[in-house]
Symmetry: D2
């Protein structure tokens, strides 16, 4: 069994050089990439993203009043007194808990440093991110994806502490082995609505060890760091350790229900995994729509 002591946790800082911005995406070798491509057969695509319904920025008489704020707000633009086309402006909170988004290296500050050791003040400022922006993945991330369905019959129990053994069990059920450079999609069966009362399941330090040991390049999950923190476990282990120390980009707020249904239907738990974030430079994160291609 792995150590669960945070201070003994492995680190990838320096593994790919002192100025690296890609982190564990470096694990996607030509071989891993080709393994991902080979999964595309019918070309059927399944989205791993939640649908975000913006509410109008304006409120009052110009739009329905929402009872919640959302990750995205929208404003329809006036395009002329006889509008030939419709358009809008979107206001996007990149790390909102209810939008599927990619956490890049520049998002996380540990002890005043950003992976792999850049001073926070050199990494970001009021004008945006200079080191570790999400745009470093702008040419796309493509590799093999593996669904690890932790609760094939429903959902994990509230506050369930996910361990490496849980991930192993899911892989065994699927009959797949996670290989270095793979992206894993972890399904706990939980819809991450921010502020709900039930204690979420989440990943333990032990699970992050598993992720490290298997050379995971990208983590996507409908669970991650439990809110509230798991009793007796390190709070925020996924962000502090997987993102902060292992430099694994995270896809927060993944929605894997359709994927799980497709996998069950096809009896296949691997697929081409592809992320194509909008090419907006200088950000700590971006909304994404990861696709599983079958």
């Amino acid at each position: 069994m792995n150590s669960t002591k945070p201070h003994e946790f492995p680190s990838n800082w320096g593994r790919w050089g002192d100025n690296d911005e890609l982190g564990a995406v470096n694990l996607i070798t030509d071989e891993a990439r080709a393994r991902g491509a080979a999964e595309a057969r019918t070309g059927v695509t399944v989205s791993l993203a939640r649908v975000t319904t913006p509410f109008p920025l304006t409120g009052g008489p110009l739009g329905k009043t929402s009872t919640t704020n959302t990750a995205v707000q929208t404003m329809m633009l006036f395009t002329g007194h006889a509008a030939p086309a419709m358009a809008e402006v979107l206001v996007v909170t990149t790390h909102h808990a209810e939008v599927t988004h990619l956490d890049a290296m520049g998002h996380w500050v540990a002890g005043g440093k950003v992976y792999p050791g850049v001073d926070a003040a050199d990494s970001s400022g009021p004008a945006g991110v200079r080191h570790g922006a999400a745009e470093v993945y702008g040419d796309g991330i493509l590799t093999r994806g593996v669904l690890l369905d932790l609760a094939p019959d429903g959902r994990l129990a509230p506050a369930h502490p996910v361990t490496g053994a849980d991930l192993d069990a899911a892989a065994d059920r699927a009959g797949v082995e996670t290989l270095p450079g793979d992206a894993i999609v972890v399904r706990g069966g939980w819809d991450r609505v921010y502020g709900s009362d039930e204690p979420e399941p989440g990943l333990t330090v032990d699970a992050i060890h598993w992720i490290h040991d298997h050379g995971v390049a990208v983590y996507a999950g409908d669970i991650g760091d439990a809110r509230p923190p798991l009793p007796g476990e390190m709070p925020g282990a996924l962000h502090f350790l997987a993102l902060g120390r292992l430099a694994i980009p995270l896809v927060d707020a993944t929605e894997p229900e359709a994927l799980a249904a497709m996998c069950r239907r096809l009896g296949r738990w691997t697929f081409q995994f592809v992320i194509a974030a909008p090419r907006i430079a200088g950000t700590t994160g971006l909304p994404v729509n990861p696709l599983a291609v079958f």
Copy 2:
């Protein structure tokens, strides 16, 4: 030769039912999709998107002053007096001429109607789009992509009127045939900086006939509707006819330079074409990063 009279131009309104929102994406049959998937071999990805560098929303002492506005503005958020993580809000103008974005059916209003005949007032309101939103493509678009490089040695002449013959010539040079359900990527070698002085090349009605005749499902190009309009040609032919009548979603402001270089290097002008727009509901368009997978 095709007719170039706009009022005789074919229409796809009604072809896929009275409530269809996908338009020509319906042309991506299982066969077309599998043809696209088969193009993914090494898994190497090339982005077809421009990089958009946001400027700070704030200006003044809190950020460098930009000399231009851009499609995206950014604001770094205050995340606490000892910030453990960095985050931002982005303000995105979906149809800005300098960001690679997808035009959905709800973007275009023709005679007070939106494809395939919905009253504009039913299609959209101050709170957003109800019919023909970009999110109808939320599960991803995957098909075969074909690069039609109109100017392999550089760029098209200013104000060049692109015809079907030009598209044929590009296909002949590449030795490819555009098949129904394909996405075409048209390269004119022009960087679409809004407001530049040189007259752009652009598509003529004749080219839109070619697009229709070949059953193109998605159009992506670094050229499209010329600014200023081409002398003697219909202004806005691509938007009025391809989007407005043929219901072909457009990827405006595509950046195909890296793709063209890759195609030349590999001697391959076809690839897996995939679009994975962020799943933001109710919009007339969305920023996208179309990928070519080889």
Copy 3:
């Protein structure tokens, strides 16, 4: 009694020239202005504005989640890794029903024209307002203010149709006569929370005749156009007639409770009325904080 037929309603279009942008503020003569100044004695000020509490634009983990949207949203800015000063960006919906704001001439379009007859397309475009912007009042509006308290003992009955007789009765109770160039502050005792269920009281066409007959220069009220419209009365009379035809700038969503308390305490129903809208050019309206100076 005045006619209540809208099509016979008087108009100020042309009264102050074909290019006027001030409207009824032209009624504030030197004499009216001096009358206003003379009201300032102790210098005690009372605000006539509602307090708008912005909610965070961001939501999710970066701010409390609100259960309503508001006229203003706020975003605290990141001002450096050791912030010496705090700052924010505000997103303001100028005509939100719950923020005290000034409606300028450019806000209203009647039959495709803006007061005093400018084509809407000449008056405003996507970039803002060219004619009748709120900034025309940028040097401030100062005149005598008169409180017309329609419900000194509480509030008007739901759906009460306010008539000229009601306004006369309030003036009689206060022992004041409204003179040309005065600003009137009309109190119905209703807090205008958008979307509440109770039918609001509101002004009838008859009341707008009274306003015209008395030469009112500015209208401020906690009531105005009733939502839902008053049974059997013209909907939107205040905006269509007072703003649209009489060119009287309106202060929507005034909060006169503190003013009414002060007037009762002092036994004075007149005061120096002053509006100092932020000098932001090219807008149809602006948030304001009208003051009553005693």
Copy 4:
């Protein structure tokens, strides 16, 4: 002559209690307020604010492209397919160097504390300001204003270090004495365009002593803290000392040209000074339009 050693500089922390949020506005006694009211005679108003011209948030084809960012951006809203009214959303950077705005106590952090000793983390968070917000002045600030015109014949020399003697000289020229509770409007004849090359004049520590000695309640000026800092003088003296230690709210980026012209014309250098900031809660600053009433 006063000490110019910053560490010996007087402080008002605690002078008005441990939870005070008004700062030096407490100096506006009933007597000071009445003195201000007595200045209003004709009711003629002069604005002390710069006009801010927003540029369109959107850019591209939907609005002219600006060559600078500004304190305010605007977006005309779509209000329906046959728009009866025009409206917009404004995005306001409260502390932008080119918009006239009020700095409240919560803006400034000194040694991790906000006046009069509140921990920064208690004073503000991502959701806004809890202590020392600009809305504490929501009922308006009214007092006597005094114009101190440092350069009646034009403008101060570049990098001129303004001292108490300069302020005395201006008062002498005007024949006025600044009394406790007065607001002073300091004119250097400089238009504060952010980023211009010329070294600005600015206030020295000696001038801040003068301000303290005279019991100034509000500071408004077209000059303040020089950019770049004055050679040999404390950088940021006005913000660090007048705002940070004396708790005097500042009106940054005042535009006193029209006021100076009026004062010269009338031979009067005092007036009713009134600030009526929009009542937006929880902010570190707000755009304002201070008026001088004659």
